[in-house]
Symmetry: D2
Subunit: 323 residues, 4 copies
C-alpha cells in the first residue's frame, strides 16, 4: 500500500475532522501518501483530489463539520458515475480508500467494492448511531449533548411557565438520540421509531403529571416516531384534551454542528487510525467500529442490514424515572 | 419602607433569578422584609406570597428561568383583578414593589400605579431588549449568545455541505437579537422588523455570494421581519431562482433558557439592587435601567413608548463585513 | 424491603444528582420509602437523615455537585463511628443502602458490610474512572469534557504565541482522564501514572516538534505521573534545554463541577436504578456497574482491588497521531 | 490610501480574529489592498507580510486566538528594530496600519508614530479591559464568561463539600475581570488591585459567613491584589484562624482562549471596521474605541495613561449581595 485516499460523505457529523486527521497522520506515520477527496463521492467523480500532509490536519480535531466537505451524490448511484470515480482512483494510483459516512455511504461502498477491486474501509460518521458493528457512531455523542443542552434550556422556560413542551430531535429511523436525550433531560415521555406511539398512554402520562402537580412536562420526539410527527401528535392530543396548551421546538440542524465531544474525538481518532491499519493488513469491504471497547471490522452489508437495538432496559428506565 | 415584594412576569429571561436575588439581599441588607410573589401578576391576585430570606436566593444567580415562576395574566387586565391584587398587597403590608419583566409588565404597572397608590419600580427582564431607558435588558446578552452558539453550529454543517440556511431568531418587534447574532455569526444578510425586507436586494446578495464562490450562506431573520416570515420568504426567493435550495432552522424557545451570561448577571444584580435603593429613596412608577454604565430611572410610560433604535452603523457594518 | 437510604461520599462528581434522583424515583416506583443521608458517612453518624419524595429530586438531573452533600469521614474509620452509623440506620428502619462514591467509599462499605448485616449496593461516583467493575464511572465523561474544553482554550493561546504548555489534569492513581483528554486535545505527549515517565523520550518529542516547525506543543500530565509533578518535570527539561520556555496550567477543581454530560446522566440514571433493583433482588456488598453496555454487580473488594487498565492501543495511538 | 497592513501584538485575546476579519473586509470593500503581518511587531521587523483577501478571513470570526499570531517583541524596543520595521512597511508600500493589542502595543505605536510618519490606528485587543478610551476591550467579555463558567463549576464542588475556595483570575493591574466574575459568581469577597486588601475585613467576612451557616465561601482574587497573591493571602488567614481549611484554584491561561462571545465579536467587528474608516478619514496615532455605544478615537498616550476606574457602585454592590 503506497497511496490511500480519504473522504467524508452523506450528512456531516462532529468528529469527522478528528477521523480525517487520524487517517492522514496514521498514513504518514507508515510512510503512505494520502489524498483527501473533497465533497465526498461527487469529488471522487469530479476529480477533487488533494494531497495531504501532517500539517494539513493541524488544529482541526476540535472543529465541527468536515474540512473535506461532504455531499449526497446522485451521480455515484449510476454505473457511469462509479466508473469515472474508479478511473480517478486509478489515475492517482490510490490503492486503498477510507470512507467516512453513514448508511448511504456504506451502501455505496458495498456496491462499489463489488464492482471494482479497490480496498475500502469505512468509518461510521453519522450522528444517528444507526449502524451495526459499532457501539457508537462518530458524532452521536456530540449530537446527544447538543440536543440535551437545548432541552435543559427549554426546561428552564417550561418550568418558569408551567408549560408542556414537545421537542423534536433527529432520528428518522432510530431512537438513539431521543432515548439518551430523553433520559438525560428527565423527559416525561420519549417517542421513538422503534416503538409504536400509543396516544392513550401519552395522554395518561400527561394527565398523571397534572394530577401530581408537575409544573412542566417535556415530551421528546424522534423525527421518525410513527404518530405523524410532532405537530400532528400535539394536535391529536389537543383533540382529546381541549384545554391542552403546548409549545413545540424542532431542534433541527444545530444537532449536526459544533465541537465534537471528548468521546467522539477519541472514537474518531481510534477508528480513523484503525481504518488505515486495516488497509495495511489487507482488509477490505468492511467498516471499522468499536464494540465493547475493542476495534472490530464488519462487512458493509452487515453494517447496513443488521439491526442495532436500543439498549435493553432504557424504555422501562425512562418510565420509572418520570414517575 | 418596611416590607417589599418582588415578582417576575411575562416571558421569562435568563438573569431574572440574579435580579430576584439582588432584590432580596439588598432588602435584607437594609433590614426590610421581602416577599416573593409566585407566578407573576396571577400570583398577586391569587395570594401566592412567600417571605424570602438571604438563603432563599442562595445558589440561584447562575440559573436560567425564574424561581418565582412567571405568567401572562389576563385577570390583571381587569379592574377587578387589579383590585384583588392591591388588596393582597395591603393585607401583607407591602409598601413597595419590584416588578421584573418586559413591555407587558411595565404596561400593567403603569395602569396599576395610576389606579393605586403603591410605589412600584420595574427592572427590565426580557430577552428582546426593546425597552427604552436601558442600554440592555436582562436576558438579552444571554439570548444573543445562545442564538449565536446555535448559528456557529449551523455554519459548521452549512459549510460542510455548501448550503444556504435561513435561521429565525426571536424578535417580534425588534431586531436587536438578529442584528448582534447576524454580525457575530458572519451572516450574509440580516432581516429585521425595523427595516423593510427588500427581496431583490436579498436575491442579489445571494447571487453575488455564488458569484464569489461562497460555499455556504446564512440569512438571519427576526420573527417580526415584514416579508411574511422565514418560510414564506424562502419560498418567494425560490420562485425567483427555481434551482434555489435551502434549509430553515427556527431557534425558538432555547433562546429563553440557560445560564445567564456574566453581563446579564451583573446587569441583573445592579438593577435589582437599584430598584430597592430607588424605593428607599422614594421613587415610584419608574423602571430602573443602565444607560452609559450608570443607573437611571425612567417613567413606565416612557420606557414602553419611546423608541429604542438599533445602534447606528450596524446595518451598514453588516453589509460591509459580508462582502 | 421497605425503607432504603442513599448517600454520596468522597469527592463529588457530576452525575451524582442524576444518580440520587434515580435511586429515589425507582424506590418510589416500587413503593419503598427512601431517605437521603446528608454529608455522606459523617451524616450517617450524626443522624442527618431526611425523607425524600419524587419532587425532592425534581430538576436536579442537570446539576453538578450533589444535593445531599458529601464528605470524607474520619469518624467512619473508627469502630465507634461505624457503630453509631449502624445504630442510626436501625433507628430509621433502613433495610437497604445505596452508597454513591469512589474508592474510599467502597472500601468503607466493604468494612461496614463485614461488620454489620445491612445490604449495601454501591454506585461508582468518581471522576477518576479507577474502579473495576464498570467501564466508566459517573462523572468521568463530564470531567474529561471539562478538561478538554480547557485544553482547547489553551491550544488557542499556545498556537497564537508558538508556546509550549504543560497542563495538569486530575488522576492521582490513574491516567484515564489524561489519556482521553490528551488524545482528544491532540496533545504532543501524555504522561500517566501507569507508565514510567521517560524524560529523554519527552525531550526528543519536543525537539522533533521544533524540527518539524510545530508552532505550539502541549503536554498533558496526570497528577500521579512519576517524574515529580508538572512543575518539577518542566524544570528538569529546562535543565536539559536551557532555552526552553514553557507555561504551566493546573486545571484543578473545575474538573469536578459543572453540568453532567449526557453520557454521565444516562449512566448515573441506569446505575442508581439498578442499585435499587439489586437491593430488591437480594444483592448486597456489591457495586453496580455497566460493562459492555450491560448492568453488572461486582463485590466491593474486587471493585477496589482489581486493576482496570487503560484501553489497549491508546498509548500507541497517541504517539501516532502526534506525529 | 491604497495599501494597509494589520497585525496583532501582545497577549492574545478572543475576538482578535473577528477584528482582523473586519479590517480585511472593510479594506476590500473600499478597494484597498490589505496585508497581514504575522507574529506582531517581530513579523514587521522580520518581513512576515502576507496579502489577504476576503476569503482569507472566512470562518474565523468564531475562533479564539489570532490567525496572524502574536508576540511580545524585544527588538521593537530598539531604534534599530523600529527602523527595520519601518523600512519593511515602506518596501510594501503600506500607507496605513491597524495595530490590534493592549497597553504594550499602544505604547510601542506611540513611540513608533512619533519617530516615523506612518498613520496607525489601534484597536483594543486585550482581555484586561485596562485601556482608556473604550468601555470594553476586545476579549474582556469572553474572558469574564470563561472565568465565570469555571467559578460556577467550583461553586458546585465547594457547595457539595462546604468548602472555602480562593480563585485567582487574571488582572495584574486591573480588577475588571475579578469584579464582574465576583459579582456574577456570587463571591463572598472580591480582591482587586485598585483597593488595598484588608485582611481583617476578609477574616470578618469569612467568620460572618460561618456564623450564618454559609456552606461554601468563595473569594475571587485578581492577580494584582496587594496582599501578596492568593497563596500567601490564604496562609495569612490561616495564621489568624488555625482551623481554617481552604482550596485554591488559579484559572490561568484558559481565560485567554476560546470562542469569542457575541459581544466581543460585535465589538471587534465594529472596531476593526472603524479603524479602517479612521485611516481613510486621515486619522492617525489614535486608538479606536466604543464609549457609550459610539465609536471614538483616543490618542495612544491618553489611552495608555488615563485611568479607567471600576464602575462606580460595584464594590458596594458586591458587599451588599454577599450579605
Amino acid at each position: 500500500m503506497k497511496k490511500i485516499a480519504v473522504f467524508t460523505s452523506g450528512g456531516d457529523a462532529p468528529g469527522m475532522n478528528a477521523c480525517i486527521r487520524a487517517v492522514v497522520r496514521t498514513a504518514v506515520y507508515h510512510n503512505i501518501r494520502v489524498f483527501g477527496i473533497e465533497r465526498g463521492l461527487n469529488g471522487m467523480i469530479d476529480d477533487n483530489f488533494v494531497e495531504m500532509q501532517t500539517h494539513s490536519v493541524s488544529n482541526i480535531i476540535q472543529r465541527g463539520g468536515t474540512v473535506l466537505k461532504t455531499s449526497r451524490s446522485k451521480s455515484f448511484l449510476t454505473k457511469e458515475g462509479r466508473r469515472k470515480a474508479y478511473e480517478n482512483l486509478v489515475a492517482y494510483g490510490i490503492d486503498g480508500l477510507v470512507a467516512i459516512g453513514g448508511d448511504g455511504t456504506y451502501t455505496a461502498m458495498d456496491v462499489f467494492t463489488k464492482e471494482y477491486d479497490i480496498p475500502v474501509i469505512g468509518a461510521p460518521g453519522t450522528i444517528d448511531n444507526d449502524l451495526y458493528g459499532t457501539d457508537n457512531t462518530i458524532g452521536f455523542d456530540t449530537a446527544v449533548n447538543t440536543a440535551l443542552d437545548a432541552i435543559d434550556k427549554i426546561r428552564d422556560t417550561a418550568d418558569s411557565n408551567d408549560r408542556i413542551f414537545f421537542v423534536e430531535v433527529m432520528g428518522r429511523d432510530a431512537g438513539f438520540i431521543a432515548m439518551d436525550v430523553g433520559i438525560g433531560g428527565g423527559a416525561e415521555a420519549i417517542l421513538i421509531p422503534e416503538r409504536h406511539t400509543q396516544l392513550d398512554e401519552l395522554v395518561n402520562t400527561l394527565r398523571s403529571g397534572w394530577g401530581r402537580h408537575k409544573g412542566s412536562q417535556l415530551i421528546v420526539v424522534a423525527e421518525g416516531e410513527d404518530a405523524g410527527g410532532v405537530f400532528e401528535l400535539a394536535e391529536k392530543i389537543k383533540s382529546q384534551i381541549p384545554t391542552f396548551e403546548y409549545r413545540i421546538t424542532v431542534l433541527g440542524h444545530i444537532q449536526r454542528g459544533g465541537k465534537p465531544s471528548a468521546r467522539d474525538r477519541v472514537l474518531a481518532s481510534r477508528l480513523g487510525s484503525a481504518a488505515v491499519d486495516g488497509l495495511l493488513h489487507g482488509k477490505k469491504g468492511v467498516a471499522a467500529g468499536v464494540v465493547n471497547n475493542a476495534i472490530v471490522f464488519t462487512p458493509f452489508n452487515e453494517a447496513i442490514k443488521k439491526n442495532k437495538p436500543i439498549t435493553e432496559g432504557l424504555v422501562q428506565l425512562a418510565k420509572v424515572l418520570s414517575t
